[in-house]
Symmetry: C2
Subunit: 383 residues, 2 copies
């Protein structure tokens, strides 16, 4: 047993216990979470096939159906962050040579293009400036031209703060016999979203924004139309970890072991979803809208300009133009260093041009709006 190879202590760090700063997270997520969710995260784990855990999984599925307003049987939490759930939607329905049309109006549209191409889809893009939305007419023209098997759109673009209206798109998709795939990462739990009523076939989200849980277990749902495409595949899903054919045997009645679920992440997610159900969606959406409007009025008073027209502005995430001559990065760093307050800069085309201020889930509270406005005022006046 005793090894003859000497053990190296080169990386045997001597450090103290975990000690993280008390941040208020008003960026694009993660956001702070309710104390009940934190308590759930530290509950001693049970096994991934324990009867008590299987009951919890069922509960998560139902509560996700409520949050998403769907009856979809295939509604689960993917064992990874939102990007894993994003990849799961594409991986399960794309077969090589399938045409996929992606509406690109921000960073996450580009990510969908990148991911879809790795599954060997023929990817076409519908482009729009960062900060704008697609009209029904533009989408119809795109479908007519490309005849895709899948149309992928971002409901709430985390890079631009734009809400893409989705009403009417499903009818077009049915007309052109195509699945509708929607990114709801920054909308679920924060703004009106109706998977079934809007005819969405595939959707994914994350835990750390509108749902108010730490990141690590991510909502995924698939309509029966999409499941039909999965079942009629000619090739295996080109991703084992995210293969819904295998995952539904674990999340469904068969309870066949696939992977060891992230137990404590599911505890946290379940508790966060319970808080959503307790509050109620209508109340929750109104709270997000009211606090966002409070923020928008305050920003105007500071003479700061929102990047997006109010009609299409996300209450969960606001993009604010950085005024001429201001070093946006330095301002964000000062907020962090002096007030433990996180806001984010822009991504991609909007890097250096906007700040992103999030009011998501547990963090959508008037006191947080007041603080971020006052802190911004202080830091900007000191230039």
């Amino acid at each position: 047993m005793v090894s003859t190879i000497p053990i190296s202590d080169r990386y045997r760090l001597k450090t103290s216990q975990l000690d993280m700063p008390p941040r208020l997270l008003l960026g694009p997520g993660p956001a702070n979470v309710h104390p009940r969710v934190l308590a759930a995260m530290s509950t001693p784990p049970v096994g991934h096939l324990d009867p008590s855990f299987l009951t919890l999984m069922n509960e998560i599925q139902d509560l996700l159906r409520y949050a998403w307003q769907t009856d979809n049987e295939l509604t689960i939490a993917v064992s990874g962050t939102g990007s894993a759930a994003m990849e799961a939607t594409l991986a399960n329905v794309i077969e090589p040579e399938d045409v996929v049309l992606v509406g690109v109006k921000g960073y996450f549209g580009h990510r969908l293009v990148d991911m879809a191409s790795r599954y060997r889809a023929k990817v076409h893009k519908l482009m729009k400036p960062w900060g704008e939305v697609f009209s029904l007419e533009e989408i119809k023209t795109g479908l007519e031209k490309h005849r895709p098997a899948v149309l992928a759109l971002v409901h709430a673009e985390t890079s631009t703060g734009v809400r893409q209206p989705l009403e009417g798109i499903a009818e077009l998709c049915r007309q052109y016999d195509c699945l509708l795939l929607v990114d709801t990462v920054t909308s679920l739990g924060g703004i009106p979203l109706f998977i079934d009523a809007w005819g969405i076939d595939l959707a994914y989200s994350c835990s750390q924004k509108g749902l108010g849980c730490p990141p690590g277990a991510s909502p995924f749902t698939m309509s029966s139309r999409a499941v039909d495409k999965l079942h009629s595949r000619r090739t295996p899903v080109a991703n084992w970890y995210l293969d819904m054919g295998l995952l539904t045997k674990y999340w469904g009645e068969e309870r066949v072991y696939h992977h060891t679920a992230p137990i404590n992440m599911n505890y946290g997610l379940c508790e966060a979803l319970r808080l959503v159900a307790e509050e109620g969606l209508e109340q929750r959406w109104q709270r997000h809208q009211a606090n966002a409007e409070l923020l928008w009025r305050g920003l105007e008073e500071l003479k700061l300009v929102s990047h997006v027209d109010q009609e299409f502005r996300l209450p969960t995430l606001t993009t604010v133009r950085i005024p001429e001559g201001v070093d946006g990065k330095a301002v964000a760093r000062k907020l962090l260093d002096e007030y433990n307050l996180e806001i984010a800069g822009g991504l991609g085309e909007l890097a250096g041009k906007v700040w992103r201020i999030g009011l998501m889930g547990y963090n959508s509270r008037p006191e947080n709006v007041l603080l971020v406005l006052e802190a911004l005022a202080q830091v900007l006046s000191r230039r």
Copy 2:
């Protein structure tokens, strides 16, 4: 803002707060975790690009290098469970038509075959009965015959309780110009393991066994030889979430956003790794060995037979043959229902034939050995 679509309360469950049973997890993992790890899990999150989090990421990398005894620069935690890290090793080095040789002597060997084939490798299998190990000679013959680009072996087979000796295999792999990929899911943090001294090019593990953390963030490491293969790819990595070309820009000095890391999972993993460093590897390996031997002696006294020869038996996970006429599933269920004690049944070929008893990480303690032996004695005598 106010939606005209009525909100359905069909899935709006009214449930109480999270309330999970107090299990002692002596199956194949997850195992129970140290209270300091649980406390870390419930620390309020910071952002995934917060300077304090970047420091934590560096610390995780160093502590993983210690636990694995490697200098590999590319040593990170994958944002998913062990199966995701498993898929990451294959996805990053396999290109279509690459020959991959997998040593199959249990359930997880078969999983490697399935995963590798999804990345369009030409997969060949080296087979061995469940409970045995490969000799150097058998491996040499396989390399000679198949001339693979990658040889994949399972160090600690969680389905059989077997430890595959790894000394000498790297020399063969270099002779045949092939990368050595090793599953260390049930060995890391529990038994002697030397990534560099044994010449392992790719390895993955999980957090919930020998490391003593809940599942959800998983160790991954890659030698410079393997990184060379990644850098010289002709095709993109066929998996966006696990693409090490992108992930190293986040974990490395560039700090380019890739995905939102599971913050609290990384808190837990870091704290678990600190506990490994505090205890020291030699001490930890000896503790696992001593408690396993205590278990083995006790099982013998109960006239229960271990499935694996003592020479190749894993101290982290023991497979015990279910005696003739005993309903193994019913026994496990009784242990759970009456004593909150989890042990597992067999997988695949060993389903119904063995129990699997794990003594991993924080759970490898004499009091747990005593309890499982006494509980087994009670339940078996009552037949």
